[in-house]
């Protein structure tokens, strides 16, 4: 089962490698990983998408929490939450018909076209992992995908719940 583990940690050298190390050492899966400093630059917020049964997820959260650099860990997927991922995608637009079709689908998915050149469009699309998958599938159906890059999921709990130091 897919889980979203959110981690608040010291923005210190080596902190990220320790977290990633826990996953590789103990044989846990990492489907995606997204990390950046928070509004307090001494802290980083990291979101890991993983999968496993309850026992595995319990161990993951405990083992990550045990790291000296880690302040807080929660499993966002346990409760109501918001998750978003961004994808940049470059597709071939070799003729007028394809350009129109790409533009139409981009509008439907609320993707922004960021760069236009003679033979391709580069777009930005934000949403859940499923939405991004669907957009990529649609693009593959109407033209050729040249390349794409995704940020991995980041997320926050809905309502009052928050991950604070």
């Amino acid at each position: 089962m897919k889980r979203i583990i959110s981690v608040l940690m010291e923005n210190a050298p080596g902190a990220l490698s320790r977290i990633v190390g826990v996953f590789s050492q103990r044989g846990y899966n990492v489907d995606s990983l997204c990390v950046a400093p928070t509004e307090d630059p001494s802290l980083s917020r990291l979101t890991i998408i993983t999968h496993g049964d309850n026992k595995v997820i319990e161990q993951i959260t405990k083992q990550v929490n045990k790291l000296v650099d880690v302040l807080k860990v929660i499993d966002l997927s346990e409760n109501a939450h918001i998750e978003r991922e961004m994808m940049l995608i470059k597709v071939a637009t070799r003729n007028e018909a394809i350009r129109a079709e790409v533009k139409r689908n981009a509008d439907i998915f609320r993707a922004n076209i960021l760069d236009v050149s003679l033979n391709n469009y580069t777009m930005e699309v934000t949403g859940t992992t499923d939405k991004l998958d669907a957009f990529a599938t649609t693009m593959a159906q109407c033209t050729e995908i040249i390349e794409s890059s995704r940020t991995g999921v980041c997320g926050l709990a809905r309502g009052e719940r928050a991950l604070r130091p």
């Binding site: 010291e10 490698s17 320790r18 190390g21 929490n65 790291l67 000296v68 302040l71």
Partner: protein, 572 residues
């Protein structure tokens, strides 16, 4: 405010932490620190012959005192040589700080001479690590390293020191932090009261309780409280390999060590219990055997300072996160004395059952006329040391014999590599013990395989005049490997036999020590007597023991805890 060089700061910070001994080996990247050590007498440096041994010495020092052991090594091979020692300490939760030299900051990443990414190499086997980037940060990093190493669940911490920041040419203000606090690191010491109440209720209801005591009870200095609780409840007590000594080995309520080579009565008691109070033990695979069949009738109360240890392998019904000492105090406060006689009366049937299991006398062995049985050596050792020695062990059959046939009445007397199972641990660990307790009897129980993994330290022993007693059970084979080959591989002894054994007596003498060879039973007691009458020199006892002896009892793979072989021909 004192001004000093980075190197002087390292030594000054060690003094401020209260370090008495540093086990180390010099080299290019740490020469400045060595020069600073030369200028003072407060911190004693012990020059080892191999960095792995430095880590094991610091480890033995830590296990026998509860204080943090300290290692100082140079960059590259000096640092990587300590890794086995660091991993050993990590697996057994031993407080240790390893100061490693590093190439100058501007050369890091350039594959400089003797460069290794020590923080990276050690990452999976340390509790935490620091790469210090500015000389001003040295006192803070060292203070934090010692704080982290010896609080919560203890463990090794690496402090990597690039050569340029310990440079003697530049001086910086030295300020040692009076208090260490870290927002991201606050171990829970006190058990949650709701959980403690549940634990007490479960203990009161129990008709077949058992205390399962691990190394965490020793770390928490809780052996007095363990004994107090056990005597109040009149419950049987078993200890893990790491927990031996947390409860007196000669106490009538002690049913012995549990697990793979535990006693029949300990494993039977666990398997049939209706309430297991686990104190600082981690349900290791060498204890549980097949977890699917583990103790089917028991309510499991698991007290551990590390939340990640709880319900990791075996699900705990009542988890209590906290230090064993504090939680035991909480439990004892809730136990009302008037209820106890009634409680103890309920246990009569349970003790009758345990007495019956004990009557099987699973540790009996047949000592013939002349060939010495290894068990006999340990019994003789116990007799000649009055059960009061610090016994450090290597890894293999001799380790199990020393665990089973030498009852430890006090904590921190039994020093062994339980988690990692590091051959070569025993001698340097016993040296660390001897440095910490100069007047005590420090014994190594080892074998002809293990002793050769760090035998070079015999030279260090002479340099520091350590009167260690080495009891080497020489069976001309890698005994435990051979035992498994006998049992599982139809006696095919693939590479477990060494037919080029050195003359250990001559070897000991070559290093400047006393060597004694013992070949037959009739010589054993006199030789032991002689060994312990020599108090000012190291004695190496090379004792020829039965090559075909196996360690029993032994759990049967995939079985429950109490599915055991009791001898080569008998099983439960």
């Amino acid at each position: 405010m004192k001004m000093m060089s980075g190197a002087a700061m390292v030594v000054e910070a060690l003094k401020d932490v209260g370090v008495t001994h540093v086990f180390g080996y010099p080299g290019g990247a740490v020469l400045d620190i060595y020069d600073a050590l030369f200028a003072q007498d407060d911190v004693k440096h012990v020059l080892v012959r191999h960095e792995q041994a430095a880590a094991h010495m610091a480890d033995g020092y830590a296990r026998s005192t509860g204080k943090t052991g300290t290692v100082l090594v140079t960059s590259g091979p000096g640092a990587t040589n300590t890794l086995t020692g660091i991993a050993t300490a990590y697996m057994d939760s031993i407080p240790m700080v390893v100061l490693s030299g590093q190439v100058p900051s501007n050369l890091i990443g350039e594959d400089a001479f003797q460069e290794t990414d020590m923080v990276g190499c050690s990452r999976p086997v340390v509790k935490h690590s620091f790469l210090v980037k500015r000389a001003e940060d040295i006192p803070d990093a060292i203070a934090k390293a010692y704080y982290i190493a010896n609080t919560g669940r203890p463990g090794p911490v690496v402090v990597d020191l690039p050569k340029d920041i310990v440079n003697v040419m530049e001086e910086h203000p030295y300020v040692f932090p009076t208090d260490v606090s870290m927002r991201s690191y606050n171990p829970t010491v006190r058990g949650h009261m709701k959980q403690v109440k549940k634990a007490v209720a479960s203990l009161k209801q129990a008709e077949r309780p058992v205390l399962y005591v691990g190394g965490g009870a020793i770390t928490a200095e809780a052996s007095g409280l363990v004994t107090q609780l056990a005597e109040l409840l009149k419950a049987p007590v078993t200890c893990t390999l790491m927990g031996l000594g947390a409860f007196p080995g000669t106490h009538e309520q002690f049913v012995g060590m549990l697990g793979m080579h535990g006693t029949l009565e300990a494993n039977k008691t666990m398997h049939n219990s209706d309430c297991i109070l686990a104190l600082g033990a981690r349900f290791d695979d060498r204890v549980t055997n097949n977890v699917e069949k583990f103790c089917p009738h028991a309510d499991i109360i698991h007290v551990d300072i590390d939340p990640a240890s709880i319900s990791k392998t075996v699900n705990a019904h009542i988890p209590v996160v906290g230090s064993v000492e504090t939680v035991l105090e909480q439990i004892l406060n809730l136990l009302t004395p008037e209820e106890l006689p009634e409680q103890q009366a309920k246990l009569a049937d349970w003790w009758e059952q345990i007495t019956q299991w004990r009557s099987r006398k699973c540790l009996n062995f047949e000592q013939g006329e002349s060939v010495i049985k290894p068990q006999k050596v340990i019994e003789s050792l116990y007799k000649h040391t009055n059960g009061e020695a610090y016994v450090s062990s290597d890894v293999g059959q001799h380790q199990m014999f020393a665990a089973l046939y030498y009852p430890y009445d006090k904590p921190r007397r039994w020093i062994n590599s339980g988690g990692l199972g590091t051959m070569g641990f025993g001698l340097p660990a016993a040296m660390g013990v001897q440095f910490a307790h100069p007047d005590a009897t420090s014994v190594v129980v080892t074998g002809d395989g293990s002793i050769q993994m760090n035998i070079q330290e015999l030279s260090t022993c002479l340099q520091y005049n350590l009167p260690i007693k080495i009891i080497s059970l020489n069976n001309r084979a890698l005994g435990m490997v051979r035992q498994w080959q006998d049992m599982i591989y139809k006696g095919r002894h693939s590479h477990s036999y060494m037919d080029s054994m050195p003359d250990f007596v001559k070897l000991a003498e070559a290093y400047g020590h006393v060597g004694i060879k013992v070949d037959s039973l009739s010589e054993l007691d006199a030789a032991m007597e002689k060994c312990f009458s020599i108090t000012d020199r190291l004695v190496f006892m090379d004792i020829a023991v039965d090559q075909n002896e196996h360690v029993y009892p032994m759990q049967i793979k995939y079985g429950a805890m109490d599915d055991m072989r009791l001898s080569k021909t008998e099983r439960t």
